[in-house]
């Protein structure tokens, strides 16, 4: 008991505050989804059952307990078991492909006695631990060794999850790995070479889809040019980087326009079979934008969202929970959520900065990347900047696996924050 208190006291209070705030907002929003809507004439029963809220409450309690558990066990033990965890994750991901439950056009769930969970979520933790241990042990090695190791850890997870198929989740693994590589000392220009072509394609695609022009991409290219000027690379490196960026960026619209509308829809559907196929591509995004935009500065008021209440907003208690917040609490609520996430991420990076032991820093950076990537991508989807790919908002979206993994991440972060001084 005394040990528990000692760890708690040393754990980062701002991280706990950010977690509590996000979980509370999430619960409030999920509850709102289950409340009947008062229309002009009658009460419209909610199509989301109250049991969903109760279930989410339960998962928050379970998540808090698991976080506590993850915090108490010295992270050295996690480091020791890292590769085993990774191996288990791989086994589960193979198992889910073979015996997983089919739902929404894919196999993503494993059931144990009526309780289902997604191994792809657990694999995020496994990746942070295993890659963290691998990189921490090789801090002084050549960058190519580190990158090669990271590819070796990420590729199996990525490929197995793509097979489910769940492209949204599979992208989380490289998104976690790249900042960890950066933290391990891989030069920025190499990271840039790895990331920038992908970024170029994404900026081009999102810019055209959401903002209706190539100007975001042009801005991106100008920014990259400036960056490269200051990076003072060799001319060959410069040309290679610019070349790959220009090719990927320009190829996207050419390829996309060659496709028939139904093929485009099918590609977006492939990314996320359960969501986009059911209501038609564009419908979800449109309704989500309408919900957020109509919320205005202060929102329509708690429980008052008509987009939510009349069921226009799809997946409102899960992937589109941010739209409910945007509708009912307005820009104030939306910025609050973003601020708490930024606080969580900033604290994680701060913990990484001060941690004495390399593995602790790796874990903190991995956790920060996880929250940063999922939050940014999920919210970008709700505002229409990215196509719908079915990624939950950590700590807020309804869903057991996501909540559990987010809480494990949170627990690990508290763990290393409380033991930053350990060598």
């Amino acid at each position: 008991m005394g040990r528990l208190l000692a760890v708690l006291v040393r754990a980062d209070a701002l991280t706990i505050f950010a977690w509590s705030a996000l979980v509370t907002i999430g619960l409030a929003a999920v509850y709102s989804c289950t409340v009947d809507f008062q229309s002009s004439a009658e009460i419209v029963p909610s199509t989301v059952s109250r049991a969903v809220f109760h279930s989410q409450m339960t998962w928050v309690l379970i998540g808090a307990s698991v976080a506590l558990f993850c915090m108490l066990i010295p992270y050295r033990h996690f480091e020791a078991l890292a590769y085993l965890t990774y191996a288990i994750a791989i086994v589960l991901l193979v198992a889910v492909l073979l015996v997983g439950d089919e739902a929404g056009g894919g196999r993503r769930w494993l059931s144990f006695g009526g309780l289902g969970f997604q191994p792809s979520e657990l694999a995020k933790v496994a990746l942070i631990l295993a890659l963290g241990r691998f990189l921490a042990a090789r801090a002084e090695r050549s960058p190519m060794v580190l990158v090669g190791g990271a590819v070796a850890f990420v590729a199996p997870l990525f490929l197995l999850v793509v097979r489910e198929p769940d492209l949204g989740t599979s992208l989380v693994y490289p998104a976690i790995a790249v900042p960890m590589l950066f933290w391990a000392g891989v030069p920025a220009r190499l990271i840039l070479a790895l990331v920038s072509p992908v970024l170029s394609a994404v900026v081009m695609f999102s810019g055209q889809q959401a903002l209706g022009g190539v100007w975001p991409w042009v801005l991106y290219v100008i920014g990259l040019t400036v960056l490269l000027y200051f990076a003072r690379l060799y001319i060959v490196q410069n040309l290679l980087l610019m070349g790959t960026n220009l090719i990927t960026g320009l190829a996207i619209p050419l390829v996309w326009e060659k496709l028939q509308p139904y093929q485009q829809a099918r590609i977006l559907t492939f990314f996320s079979p359960s969501e986009s196929d059911r209501l038609g591509y564009g419908y979800q995004t449109f309704q989500s934008q309408v919900a957020i935009g109509s919320g205005g500065l202060f929102g329509k008021g708690y429980l008052e969202g008509s987009q939510k209440g009349l069921a226009f907003l799809p997946e409102r208690h899960t992937d589109f929970i941010f739209s409910v917040i945007g509708e009912e609490f307005g820009l104030i609520g939306a910025v609050a959520v973003l601020s708490f996430f930024l606080l969580l991420i900033a604290r994680a990076l701060r913990v990484a900065e001060i941690s004495k032991r390399p593995f602790a820093g790796m874990v903190a950076v991995g956790v920060a990347s996880y929250f940063a990537f999922q939050a940014v991508v999920n919210i970008a989807i709700t505002v229409g900047l990215l196509p719908v790919t079915g990624l939950p908002l950590p700590l807020l979206s309804k869903g057991g696996s996501s909540m559990l993994v987010s809480c494990i991440m949170f627990g690990l972060l508290l763990n290393v924050s409380a033991r930053w001084s350990e060598v």
Partner: protein, 593 residues
């Protein structure tokens, strides 16, 4: 890794994340503050639909209240036009679920008139409705509209009078028009004539819907109430109408029954006819072309618009013209007795009876319909005198019927001949043909019935009616007003003479109209066999009954059928028999002779 390098790497990552968050905040600010009004409007449009509430179209019934046209309700499946044109996958899903023909649907979408929604299925079957309801969640924006469809309970009964409705054309819709896409509009008959009454006033209400399209509320403050269409009672008597249609089945021609005292059209038949219900659901192009090209012209209303030479019934007009001007003594016989033909100048004019009638006075000439007598009678009259009398009897001019695009026919005068042949280029020989109702003379069956109603009745021409009463949704009834001509068609003396002669036509042993006799009721009439240069003669019979104080006047023409006395007179007899049977006035059972 040393402290400083760790610090800049951590800062660099925070900056990258911060940039991402800043981008999101900028987007949120744009949406929630700068473009808030647009989105708020979209959210309202999402949930609030201004829905048109269609006014039920007014009923059409006969004078006794028997329904002829009423509304049945059907469901229509519609889809937003914008989404349909952009190839939205939901439409594909709908096509797949309902097993529709993809090509046809897209053709329909492409051809659809302006408007926010296009019709995918006009008349949804109960199965299709069930499928759409069952898959509501998959089919957002798909709407089921329940709407009225016109149904003609008696099918083809009085088809030309009742008329039919069709869907409005693209050019009939618009901001100033009361019509929206898919609305029905009267195309022919009373449906067209009384369109403004029958249509009513469509209402509007704003409803609140949920994502599945189910109505969850209504905003009462913006409601526009519906005013149902006016119930139109026709003057026709559907039993009589049906009887006349039965009598004329397989014939080409027309028949009109007029109530003498009012001018009400009790029955108006034009054969061949059409089935009105064929037109209500949108008739196919092939079927429409088939009807249009049918040589019998089933869509053409012969009763009001068909023009024919009047033939022998016109002899009464010729007689009246001469009697009125005292150009003939009724007992007088002409010097040339009928030998079957008559020489005028260097031309021969035949009588319908080749063996001849011998010597006849006026009444005899009317009863036996002797042409030779009238060839001589007309020589005592000018063409203009004949034309003037004919017009007084209502020929060659409009009857004043509710708009059915009625034809006026033609009563030629000297100006007409001057215009047609040139001044002095025509001879008095033209008169001889006119005297017996041939030549350029043209009349409609409606005009004939009205003319004879005037002779049999009080001597005045009555304005015919097809609409008896219109009754609006609040029960206010507006009856038709009976109008008659201020001047009688002829003097009482002449009229009495004509009536007597017409009675003899039917009653006398040697009369041509014997087949129109009805037991217990005296009938007066005149046969006609008008020459038709294109084929067999047209058979006329025009009559009224009872002869002493007539209630109804009837005109029947059967095209290319032969002699009026043989073909048309029995039809009129049978019809009059039915009329008096319905009135409970027949004592002796048995068919008309």
């Amino acid at each position: 890794m040393d402290e400083r390098r760790r610090q800049w790497r951590s800062r660099a990552m925070l900056i990258v994340v911060g940039l991402g968050f800043a981008g999101l905040v900028a987007t949120l600010f744009t949406m929630q503050v700068l473009r808030h009004e647009d989105y708020a409007q979209l959210a309202r449009e999402n949930r609030q639909y201004s829905r048109r509430v269609l006014a039920p179209r007014g009923l059409i019934s006969d004078r006794a209240g028997t329904t002829l046209a009423h509304n049945v309700y059907q469901a229509r499946i519609t889809y937003p036009r914008r989404l349909a044109l952009n190839g939205d996958p939901t439409l594909d899903r709908l096509i797949e679920l309902l097993e529709l023909d993809r090509e046809l649907v897209f053709e329909r979408v492409a051809r659809a008139p302006r408007g926010d929604r296009v019709m995918i299925v006009r008349r949804a079957t109960p199965e299709q409705i069930a499928i759409v309801e069952e898959h509501r969640v998959e089919l957002p924006q798909v709407q089921l509209w329940v709407e009225p469809r016109r149904h003609y309970r008696a099918g083809s009964l009085a088809a030309h009078l009742v008329g039919y409705v069709g869907e409005v054309r693209r050019d009939e819709t618009g901001p100033d028009s009361p019509y929206n896409n898919g609305d029905l509009i009267g195309r022919t008959g009373i449906e067209a004539y009384a369109e403004n009454l029958l249509r009513g006033t469509h209402g509007r209400k704003v409803v609140e819907v949920n994502a599945a399209g189910h109505v969850v509320g209504e905003l009462p403050e913006v409601r526009v109430p519906v005013v149902p269409g006016v119930h139109v009672y026709l003057t026709i008597h559907s039993v009589l109408q049906r009887r006349l249609e039965e009598l004329m089945v397989d014939r080409v021609g027309a028949g009109v029954v007029i109530e003498v005292a009012t001018g009400d059209v009790l029955a108006a038949v034009s054969t061949p006819s059409i089935d009105l219900n064929e037109f209500t659901g949108g008739i196919s192009h092939e079927r429409a072309a088939e009807l249009r090209d049918d040589p019998g012209k089933p869509e053409f209303n012969r009763a009001f618009r068909g023009v024919y030479p009047p033939g022998s019934p016109f002899k009464l007009i010729t007689a009246a013209a001469a009697l009125e001007r005292n150009r003939v003594d009724p007992k007088e016989t002409f010097e040339v007795s009928c030998t079957g033909q008559y020489r005028f100048g260097n031309r021969w004019f035949g009588c319908w009876k080749p063996e001849g009638h011998g010597k006849l006075d006026l009444e005899g000439a009317i009863v036996q319909s002797c042409d030779v007598y009238f060839y001589q009678l007309i020589q005592r009259l000018s063409i203009d005198e004949l034309a003037e009398t004919a017009r007084r009897f209502g020929l060659g001019r409009e009857t004043g019927l509710e708009s059915f695009h009625e034809q006026t026919g033609l009563v030629p005068d000297e100006d007409f001949f001057d215009a047609r042949y040139g001044k002095g280029k025509w001879t008095d020989g033209q008169k001889l043909n006119l005297a017996i109702g041939q030549g350029e003379l043209l009349v409609t069956p409606l005009q004939m019935a009205l003319t004879f109603a005037a002779i049999g009745g009080d001597g005045h021409l009555y304005v015919p009616h097809v609409v008896l009463v219109s009754e609006n949704a609040y029960g206010v009834r507006e009856p038709r007003r009976v109008f008659r001509s201020t001047e009688p068609v002829c003097s009482p003396r002449v009229r009495a003479y004509l009536r007597r002669s017409m009675h003899s036509v039917v009653a006398d042993e040697d009369g041509t109209g014997g087949l129109a006799q009805v037991a217990d009721i005296e009938v007066a009439g005149k046969t006609g066999t008008s020459e038709n240069p294109f084929g067999e003669h047209h058979a006329w019979f025009v009559a009224y009954a009872p002869a002493e104080d007539p209630e109804v006047a009837v005109a029947v023409i059967v095209e290319n059928a032969g002699h009026g006395g043989e073909i048309a007179a029995p039809i009129v007899g049978a019809l009059l028999r039915s009329y008096f049977e319905l009135q409970g006035r027949l004592v002796t059972p048995g068919e008309a002779r």
